[in-house]
C-alpha cells in the first residue's frame, strides 16, 4: 500500500515570500503520478500541479513548481511570490498509474500574511 506523509501541519509566511511545502511517499510502484491539491477555506479542492514519475523534469505552473526526487521519494512544492489567495490547505497526493484513485497526505495549512 502507498502512503503519503506531509510533516508540516502548518506554515505561515509573509506575502511575496517564497515557501516550500514538503512531502514524502512510500511505494514499490515505478509508474505513478504525484499531485499537489489546494483546498481553500470553504471551497472545493483544486489541482495545483501534477508530476509524472517517468519524467525527470520538474513540473512548473506559473508561480508553483515542484522538486521531484524519485530515488528519495520526495515531492516538495515551492510557491514563489506568495499571494493572500494562496492561503489554503495543501495536500500532496499519489496515484498509481492505472489505479485512478488518489492517496492523500495529512495536509499542510498554509497562511499567507499581509
Amino acid at each position: 500500500a502507498q502512503t503519503v506523509t506531509q510533516s508540516q501541519p502548518e506554515m505561515s509566511v509573509q506575502e511575496a515570500e517564497t515557501v516550500t511545502l514538503s512531502c514524502t511517499y512510500d511505494t514499490s510502484e515505478n509508474n505513478y503520478y504525484l499531485f499537489w491539491y489546494k483546498q481553500p477555506p470553504s471551497r472545493q479542492m483544486i489541482l495545483v500541479i501534477r508530476q509524472e514519475a517517468y519524467k525527470q523534469q520538474n513540473a512548473t505552473e506559473n508561480r508553483f513548481s515542484v522538486n521531484f526526487q524519485k530515488a528519495a521519494k520526495s515531492f516538495s512544492l515551492k510557491i514563489s511570490d506568495s499571494q493572500l489567495g494562496d492561503t489554503a490547505m495543501y495536500f500532496c497526493a499519489f496515484m498509481r498509474k492505472g489505479a485512478q484513485k488518489l492517496v492523500f497526505g495529512q495536509g499542510t495549512r498554509l497562511t499567507i500574511n499581509p
Binding site: F35, S42, M45, F91, Q100, F104, Q106, G107
Partner: protein, 115 residues
C-alpha cells in the same frame, strides 16, 4: 465551467438516524469517488465507481454505509445508523477514467455533524 455538484452542503443529525448525500459529477466523467475528510486530516477514499460498477469499496464500513450509482451518472452515499464518529466532510470527486492522467475534480463537500 462544469463542476461537481453535491447536496446538502451541511447536515446535522442525531446518532442512530439515517442520512444521505447526493453527488452529480461532471458530465462525461466515468469515474466517481466518495472521500471522507475528518477535520484537519487528508481525505480517505470510501468508494470508487467506474460507470455504475464499484471498483473499490474496501474502506467503506459496509455495516452502516452504502453507495450507489445506478445509471452511471449521479450517486448517493447513505449512512444508517449514523454514529458520532461519522462527523466529517464527505467529498465527491469525478474523473475521466481510462487513459486519464489522474486529475480529479472535487465538489464543495457535504459537512456532516452527528450529535
Amino acid at each position: 465551467e462544469a463542476e461537481v455538484a453535491q447536496s446538502p452542503r451541511y447536515k446535522i443529525t442525531e446518532k442512530s438516524q439515517a442520512v444521505a448525500f447526493w453527488c452529480d459529477p461532471i458530465s462525461g466523467h466515468a469515474t466517481l469517488y466518495w472521500y471522507r475528510q475528518i477535520l484537519g486530516q487528508g481525505p480517505e477514499l470510501l468508494v470508487q465507481f467506474q460507470d455504475e460498477s464499484v471498483v473499490d469499496d474496501s474502506q467503506l464500513p459496509k455495516d452502516r454505509f452504502s453507495a450507489e450509482r445506478l445509471k452511471g451518472v449521479d450517486s448517493t452515499l447513505k449512512i444508517q445508523p449514523a454514529e458520532l464518529g461519522d462527523s466529517a466532510m464527505y467529498l465527491c470527486a469525478s474523473g475521466l477514467g481510462g487513459a486519464n492522467t489522474g486529475e480529479l475534480f472535487f465538489g464543495e463537500g457535504s459537512r456532516l455533524t452527528v450529535l
